[in-house]
């Protein structure tokens, strides 16, 4: 269950601009409020921010190109 919740959390910050902005402003707080485990919280606090922004931008471009 906690692993599924982690995937849901990642999916949300990848595609939802507001969720991503909130997370980047307060990673530990947002991860905690999402119900992630202590280990998962530590993991997302260390997230590859450059990669996160690039991946999110590529998803947005892909969505726009498909209308």
């Amino acid at each position: 269950m906690s692993d599924a919740r982690f995937e849901e959390f990642l999916a949300r910050i990848y595609v939802d601009e507001n969720a991503r902005a909130k997370f980047l402003a307060d990673p530990r707080g947002e991860a905690s409020r999402a119900g992630l485990t202590a280990q998962q919280i530590d993991d997302v606090v260390k997230i590859d921010r450059e990669g996160l922004e690039m991946f999110a931008a590529s998803l947005k471009r892909k969505k726009q190109s498909h209308g």
């Binding site: 692993d3 599924a4 919740r5 982690f6 995937e7 849901e8 959390f9 990642l10 999916a11 949300r12 990848y14 595609v15 939802d16 280990q39 998962q40 993991d43 997302v44 260390k46 997230i47 590859d48 450059e50 990669g51 996160l52 690039m54 991946f55 931008a57 590529s58 998803l59 892909k62 969505k63």
Partner: protein, 286 residues
């Protein structure tokens, strides 16, 4: 489904390439069709696909099952794949080692999951279910990623190798995905290849991409809109030098389409790379 008896080289089937592919079937051994495009196809569209399958061997490629997830793939999606395989009788079918949704949120693309024991277990369970429902085990593809998957406790080669070792699925090794990840996250792609059992590499994808991001922090995006770069052919030679059986090699091109002759020339480059690799293998064996 049948075993390939010699190396085969083909293209991804795209509507913009259809005429070009059909007029060059003497130089194209098979085509790869995106399966999901036909899950809700009309009778006419499915008839057209069957007609295509009667002219050239087809392999089906899935993009939305989400195999590498802790969550079970929906039975409805597997049933759709099973029906399509039954109808088209492809030489093989494949999916990605990716998750594509979470908690009902569709990501809209292939996302690399955390590389952990949990996602290894989830992927193996999903692959076994897919095998049971469809009747044939899918090949599974390594994915390109712009982000180092959060929560990972092992590298990509270890993660992929463990899934392959503990499932019935062979690897569809995407060499541009490997090339991009190796450049973006600074590892040796040949070391990656050496850590996968050669007997379990079933097919190869080739593609191109472009650099994105700030000048001081660029990453290579696997966009399928550009030519296959030379280092990817070098990796193909490395694979062909190790794999003992016939390989299926597919070039994926999703847009910015060049003339078909240009893509056929790239298939010839792939043939030459495989030939160089086979020669190395023979020289070592001699």
């Amino acid at each position: 489904m049948m075993m390939a008896v010699s190396d085969r080289f083909g293209l991804g089937w795209r509507s913009r390439l259809a005429l070009g592919i059909l007029s060059h079937l003497d130089r194209i051994d098979l085509v790869e069709v995106i399966a999901d495009d036909f899950f809700r196809a009309t009778r006419r569209e499915r008839r057209a696909l069957r007609t295509l399958a009667a002219q050239v061997p087809i392999t089906l490629h899935g993009v939305t099952l989400g195999m590498a997830s802790c969550v079970a793939v929906e039975t409805k999606r597997l049933d759709q794949m099973a029906r399509l395989c039954e109808e088209v009788k492809p030489v093989s079918w494949s999916e990605h080692l990716a998750f594509v949704r979470g908690g009902g949120i569709e990501i809209g693309h292939l996302a690399a999951p955390p590389r952990t024991a949990a996602t290894i277990g989830g992927a193996i369970a999903n692959l076994r279910r897919a095998w049971a429902v469809v009747g044939v085990a899918p090949q599974v593809e390594n994915v390109a990623t712009l982000i180092e998957p959060p929560g990972s406790d092992r590298d990509e080669a270890a993660w992929v190798a463990e899934i392959i070792r503990n499932s019935e699925s062979d690897l569809l090794l995407d060499l541009h995905n490997l090339h991009a990840n190796a450049l973006n996250f600074k590892f040796d792609p040949v070391d990656f290849i050496s850590r996968i059992s050669p007997e379990r590499i079933g097919s190869i994808h080739l593609a191109g991409g472009r650099w994105i991001g700030r000048p001081d922090a660029q990453r290579l995006l696997d966009d399928h809109l550009h030519d296959v770069p030379d280092p990817v052919y070098d990796l193909l030679e490395e694979v062909a030098a190790r794999v003992p059986h016939a390989l299926t090699v597919i070039i994926e091109r999703d847009g910015n389409f060049p003339p078909i002759e240009w893509l056929i020339d790239q298939l010839d480059c792939a043939r030459r790379a495989v030939s160089r690799g086979r020669s190395r293998q023979k020289a070592i064996a001699a």
